[in-house]
Subunit: 272 residues, 2 copies
């Protein structure tokens, strides 16, 4: 292998760490990859750490001991949150998005890899996920966002289905009542998808009354699983009393005025 210069090693190290956030790489991994001494790699990592801190691009954490190594932790500041969330509000506030019934067309935003990649990092900065085992969502529209959160936290993603499928093996199904439409709905999950006594964070795109989030919490009870947090991209301000208590919305939707074509949506003040 061609020997790399320090500059080049540093570029390669942050590329590898940044591609797999929250994964611990041992120093040995890098000493072997670059045929360099441990002390050399340690110095390289110090440079990477300083760079990320100075430019506010995230955090580098070194872990000592036998299982030690180094990892990249996504982190966004309040100032960065403000910029990211305000930009999404500007998009969502476009009056062309208003649909009959006061719904908002959001597919292009919530499926945009770049936008939700950033939102994944915003969520990773809000939750304590050290002991969390899975990110949970329910099909369909929350999946891209939940995947990006899972990637930022280095956790497996579990998707609850609306129906049980032959390709999932034995499943658990529950019925729940959608909070706003009062319609009876059903969700199911493969028995083997979650190990017992796990801890999870629930991620979804939209919360009105909180019926779906409540349904997911009920499902988690069936798996003897602890819900450590709930995150949603958008929560409506009304009803203020939702069916779940603790949740973190990134954006608050005040109202969609179909007649005057006005959308009032703003970042969660606690995050900016």
């Amino acid at each position: 292998m061609e020997k790399l210069k320090r500059n080049e090693r540093i570029a390669a190290i942050i590329k590898i760490l940044g591609d797999q956030p929250n994964k611990i790489f041992t120093l040995n991994y890098f000493t072997e990859k670059f045929a360099a001494a441990k002390s050399t790699i340690s110095e390289d990592i110090m440079v990477v750490k300083q760079s990320m801190e100075k430019m506010k691009l995230g955090k580098i954490q070194t872990i000592s001991g036998a299982a030690g190594g180094v990892k990249f932790i996504p982190y966004t500041t309040k100032e960065q949150n403000k910029q990211i969330l305000q930009s999404i509000c500007n998009h969502l506030g476009e009056k062309e998005r208003i649909l009959p019934g006061g719904f908002l067309y959001m597919a292009d935003i919530i499926y945009s890899p770049q936008m939700i990649h950033q939102l994944g990092e915003v969520f990773a900065s809000q939750f304590n996920y050290k002991e969390v085992d899975y990110i949970i969502t329910v099909e369909t529209k929350g999946i891209p966002l939940a995947l990006m959160v899972a990637k930022a936290m280095n956790l497996p993603l579990v998707i609850l289905r609306r129906d049980s499928k032959v390709t999932e093996g034995s499943t658990v199904s529950i019925n729940y009542v959608s909070g706003s439409s009062k319609k009876m709905q059903r969700m199911s999950l493969a028995r083997r998808a979650i190990k017992p006594n796990s801890k999870v964070i629930i991620i979804d795109d939209f919360m009105k009354a909180g019926g779906t989030a409540k349904g997911m919490m009920d499902m988690m009870k069936e798996f003897d699983t602890q819900v450590e947090g709930i995150g949603v991209l958008i929560a409506t301000r009304e009803p203020q009393e939702k069916l779940v208590e603790d949740y973190i919305p990134l954006l608050i939707l005040e109202e969609v005025e179909e007649k005057s074509e006005a959308v009032e949506i703003y970042p969660n003040p606690a995050l900016i």
Copy 2:
């Protein structure tokens, strides 16, 4: 702002480029961010480029001219493909995955952010997506993979739904016949999701007879859209005659022997 050393600038530049593959950043973006001269930034970028090439971590492309700048292009070698795809085959070959009816439990693999992040880069290395406008998939299991492909290629993701939803506005719906089960199915898409005369790549998790892929192609006709390519994670070897002609599978599933608990699955020989 605290002035960065060259080493630190290099780390920050590759972090920024790598986080948003295929997005062009102007030199001005970096000169302003680091308060450094253009010639300095150009030298930094050369170091990053060399590092990525030597370590086979992807490609850095510089674009000259008024709309010029620099971008990171994900790229995997045949050797890397072999390692990535063989590792997934080893997981999928575990006999505990075999379900009644000869199905394979795959949810943990196809929802694993780390694994499908790599698969997104493998697909990005196989397709020419320079003039492609969208990545298309149909709910549900292909969504995470399609999102990672979309992220690697810096393209918007479009998800076809099984039913039309009130939150999507006016939609186009088609019926299609699932190739293997001969069941009539339905998919729908919001009118506004795709601009006319676009080019798309279709991504899905699994192809047997190709009925779903054919359905997606039919849907694209309704949008006057050109399908430039089809990529699937797994294609079954039988039937060899599928309903679509050109497609790139990453893995070939020979057979699932329920009785002898054997799964024969291997990487597409053309990719390794």
